[in-house]
């Protein structure tokens, strides 16, 4: 894209965002991803984030001074590690949350127990539920949180940058007709991949690959036989247990030399935090993925 065209594009995007983002400042009452009506405080000062991704977004919005509690695995950025913990995102500690006297909790629909959200509401603690299922809704979530935290400009800048980088990848990938078959493995025993309704699926598609796990189930399980039958060109393993476990899995797949991915030596490990968390860093993941799936395109550029 030419520079002038690019600036124009960013402007259009920014305008579009400022129109779609929540208009919270004057309302105070919004609908969240569960379709519930949430009464937001006008200027939340004591926020508890119910997932590492939400913590990350709040830090990215530079509103961390409002953040009073996070979940166990909130480890990015470094400063998040020193905040009080309120349990893990699937098993939140109700008492600790209430003890922090939050004026707003920010939850994620996928993972946080609904019963806990209802319990907090019955105690008059507002909970805003996000549901980032794809890149578009991650950007929507960033915009929403930006509006709630009075950081609309910062949110627009973040989203604008994300859109720009996504567009760059897309236009680069468009040059290639080759669509490698990608098996994205998030679970080792059992073998678990990702279905169509996940942002990893979208990342694979944007990065110019075919997601072999696509289908209705969000996290489909596979037998070894099925995977061999799919003949993946590329294996991407995102494991929470890194290092040794990865070596073991790679060795396991190398036992099947007829697999295209093995023949071409294309089994890769990626940082699971980058791929599991719907945050601005997903664009980094997209770039990583594109380079792994289409190394030829990126080599030319270099």
């Amino acid at each position: 894209m030419q520079p002038r065209k690019r600036i124009f594009f960013v402007c259009v995007v920014l305008m579009a965002i400022s129109l779609t983002a929540l208009n919270v400042a004057d309302a105070g009452i919004v609908k969240d991803s569960l379709g519930r009506t949430v009464h937001l405080p006008p200027d939340p000062q004591r926020i508890v984030a119910f997932a590492p991704s939400i913590t990350e977004i709040i830090f990215a919005l530079e509103q961390q001074q409002r953040l009073k509690g996070v979940t166990i695995y909130s480890d990015y950025p470094e400063a998040a590690k020193s905040l009080p913990r309120v349990g893990s995102y699937v098993r939140l500690d109700l008492e600790r949350i209430v003890a922090l006297r939050p004026d707003l909790c920010i939850a994620t629909k996928d993972g946080n127990p609904k019963a806990l959200i209802e319990r907090l509401e019955s105690m008059d603690i507002p909970v805003f539920v996000t549901d980032p299922r794809n890149l578009e809704s991650v950007m929507q979530t960033i915009g929403d949180l930006g509006a709630i935290l009075h950081a609309t400009d910062r949110a627009n800048a973040l989203v604008g940058n994300m859109r720009l980088r996504i567009q760059q990848i897309k236009s680069l990938i468009a040059e290639s007709n080759d669509k490698p078959r990608v098996f994205f493995q998030i679970g080792i025993t059992p073998i678990v991949s990702v279905g169509t309704d996940t942002f990893i699926h979208e990342l694979i598609v944007y990065a110019g690959g075919i997601n072999l796990g696509e289908g209705k189930a969000s996290y489909p399980r596979f037998s070894r036989e099925q995977v061999l039958g799919l003949k993946p060109d590329v294996f991407i393993i995102s494991s929470m247990a890194r290092g040794v476990a990865f070596d073991k899995v790679r060795k396991e797949w190398y036992r099947w030399p007829h697999l295209p991915a093995v023949r071409n030596n294309r089994i890769f490990l990626v940082d699971s935090d980058l791929f599991n968390r719907p945050t601005p860093r997903l664009v980094d993941s997209l770039e990583t993925l594109a380079k792994l799936i289409h190394p030829e395109i990126f080599e030319e550029i270099r």
Partner: protein, 336 residues
């Protein structure tokens, strides 16, 4: 006759008051400990209406811990009186809803309900009740007729029904490929951490009338222990009593399972302990088990939330760790 009646009434009252004090002590302990801190002093101050320094702590004590303690008391009361009924009815000291697979059946019903997408109430509660009744029917069918008198046959059937239920539960869990799986697993292990007043009211509406029915039939349970023939000759309609008691207990057990998951062995530990203390008379045992079971469950829940350094563990783990060795001990004793 009248003199005997007043003595038994007196006995019921003294023991009930004694157990009530234990229950109250357990409840005070229950609302004093938790991850947000607190302690006895704060609770006592709060009970007597004095202002507590930290207002959010007062909220935690009364709106988080209190419903949890009440729920635990209801669950403990339901499960231990349920165990008592099974032991009397099947004339088997080792009978217990969890061991016999009744709880497992309720869990199958509840998980199926959750997976189909039914609402917590009445959907999941009803599917859970249907599950428990079906396993109960299966169990009675396997060990029906004269063999019901034989301890080993009944227990063995129970163990098999339970194993079958576990297999079905594992099948259902393995079929679940979304985020609900965590919630189901935690719930299955027996979890009281999200107790709210709504849950308490729902459970109370089933458990309190259930306990009343059991207490009303406690004299009949005494007669049953003398043997079916004797009971019949004393004018007990065996079939009606059996159906009422089994139906009531299954309803109570399935209600607790659908709310709090599998909490095993409670119906074994408490009746045995109390039989040892207050004797075999069910008119005394029923109220003692209701109050004592409540206290026991509260204490188990306290352990569940204080033992781990980080987070909580499921209360069902605690009840099983205490209960299973006792079961083995009792089994060994009864074989001898």
């Amino acid at each position: 006759m009248i003199a005997e009646k007043t003595t038994i009434l007196k006995r019921i009252l003294t023991i009930s008051i004694g157990m009530l004090l234990v229950l109250i002590a357990a409840a005070v302990l229950g609302i004093s400990v938790g991850s947000a801190g607190g302690g006895f002093e704060t609770v006592i101050r709060s009970i007597f209406g004095k202002t507590v320094v930290d207002s959010s702590l007062e909220d935690i004590i009364w709106r988080i811990r209190m419903p949890r303690v009440v729920l635990a008391a209801l669950v403990g009361a339901a499960l231990s009186s349920g165990g008592l009924v099974f032991q009397a009815l099947l004339r088997n000291p080792l009978a217990e809803p969890y061991i016999l697979g009744i709880s497992g059946g309720a869990a199958i019903g509840a998980i199926s309900g959750i997976l189909i997408g039914l609402s917590q109430f009445p959907g999941v509660s009803v599917s859970s009740f249907i599950g428990s009744m079906m396993t109960l029917a299966l169990l009675l069918m396997i060990s029906s007729g004269r063999t019901i008198l034989r301890k080993e046959s009944l227990l063995l059937s129970g163990v098999m029904v339970n194993a079958f239920c576990s297999a079905v539960i594992m099948f259902l869990i393995s079929m679940t490929q979304d985020a609900r799986i965590h919630n189901i697993i935690f719930w299955l292990m027996g979890d009281l951490s999200l107790a709210g007043f709504k849950q308490v009211i729902l459970l109370a509406a089933i458990v309190i009338p259930g306990i009343a029915v059991i207490f009303w039939l406690s004299h009949v349970m005494n007669l049953l222990l003398l043997g079916q023939e004797t009971a019949k000759s004393l004018g007990v309609n065996l079939k009606v009593v059996t159906v009422i008691l089994l139906g009531t207990t299954s309803l109570m057990v399935s209600a607790t399972v659908s709310q709090c998951g599998l909490l095993g062995f409670v119906g074994l530990v408490i009746p045995h302990l109390l039989r040892f203390v207050v004797g075999p008379d069910h008119r005394v045992l029923v109220p003692a088990c209701v109050l004592g079971g409540g206290a026991y469950m509260i204490v188990c829940d306290v352990l569940a939330r204080t033992l781990p350094r980080q987070g909580e563990m499921p209360a069902g783990v605690i009840t099983a760790i205490i209960g299973a060795p006792l079961f083995i001990f009792l089994l060994k004793k009864s074989v001898r």
